[in-house]
């Protein structure tokens, strides 16, 4: 079937097999490989992207299901000349990554959280990361990064 998705603000249109998963579509067809496949069983969150602004696990969504929708991946966060978005900067600043495999999904989950809840408590941040596993950092610096991104967004307002 033909699938038309606005990915990071640009309209894409491709003929795909009906059973194509969104994550494979993004990586193999659209050519955006920041989104990782970790568990492939909707557990780890490495494949998290935003659909119409909300976090979803793209290994458990068909490309066909988001035909006509807006999808945002990690590649869509940085500015035109490559300057990092505030959440990305906060992750860098707070050493919120080691191997970096979970990071694209973490950043997108965190972005979705702050859109829904701009001033989360630490407990709310931890609860919102339930669906994102990190094998390296122990989460502490990830939580710090998200708290600080929320604070700096507040300062900028």
């Amino acid at each position: 079937m033909n699938v038309t998705i606005t990915v990071n603000g640009e309209k894409t249109s491709h003929e795909v097999e009906d059973r194509t998963l969104l994550v494979h579509h993004l990586r193999d067809v659209v050519g955006l490989t920041a989104t990782n496949v970790g568990c492939d069983t909707s557990t780890c969150g490495a494949c998290t992207v935003l659909v119409n602004g909300e976090s979803v696990k793209s290994c458990t969504v068909l490309a066909a299901q988001v035909d006509g929708d807006e999808v945002q991946t990690l590649e869509g966060l940085a500015g035109e000349n490559g300057e990092l978005d505030p959440m990305q900067s906060a992750f860098r600043e707070h050493h919120a990554l080691q191997c970096g495999f979970c990071t694209p999904g973490m950043v997108m989950a965190a972005t979705s959280l702050l859109r829904e809840n701009p001033h989360p408590t630490e407990e709310e941040v931890r609860a919102a990361l339930k669906g994102n596993l990190c094998r390296c950092t122990g989460y502490h610096n990830i939580v710090q990064a998200i708290m600080s991104a929320a604070e700096s967004a507040e300062g900028a307002r």
């Binding site: 009906d18 069983t41 557990t43 969150g45 035909d67």
Partner: protein, 273 residues
Amino acid sequence: MIPPKFAYRRAGSAEEAVSLLAEYGDEAKILAGGHSLLPLMKLRLAQPEFLIDIGRVHELSYIRGEADHIAVGALTRYHDLEHSELLAAELPLLAHASGKVGDPQVRHRGTIGGSIAHGESASDVPAVVLALDGTLVVSGPSGVREIPSSEFFLGPFETVLEPDELLTEIRLPRPASPGWSFQKLTSRAIDWAIVAVAVQGSSVGLVNMGSTPLRATATERALADGASITDAAARAAEGTSPFADRNASPEYRKHLARVLVRRGLEEAAGRAG
């Protein structure tokens, strides 16, 4: 893992979904959020030839206050239930339990109708609907029927829904008693409940205590006969036959049911004031 081949059809309305079901019959499955069905398909535990996507049938996504009940459209997502002001005011048990399902990503996709139609006894919301004495509204080729939730669940992944029927609405009577509680014990944060308990007044629903969601009938009867919370909760596992898995033995599940029902009834009584 890529799901097995199927043909994708998108329904534009509930009526179209029902006629597509009639056309494709047993070979077809409804696709709502896909968060139960797609994982099963990846594992080849389900191999429908047709998927009928109702994801765009917006007329099935709503939460409405009616004269004597709250009506919830089958396609309403957990995320919308969790954040509904109407539910926060009138049915906080459902809003709260929805917020405890999976993780934010799962709640952005998963729907109340999918959870009920799937008929998994480890799911949270079916036991809530059972405790609230909900009614399921179903559309099929021969019209609409209303099924009490007490008659809906038959066994593991088995309900009275026929293959050509669409669940359209969940009706929840306004509770007579305001006290509520939802107690869910998981091994890790992301896990499903080992056991969970939904309490509204003196109605008690049990998650994962057998092959279907259940009511703790012995506890409810004891409460009606004037037993104390402690004595009534001690009977929470009567008549249940929970299974063993890597998280818990049947005996441990029975123990948890008794403890969580006691905590739930106490919290509900506290909230009722």
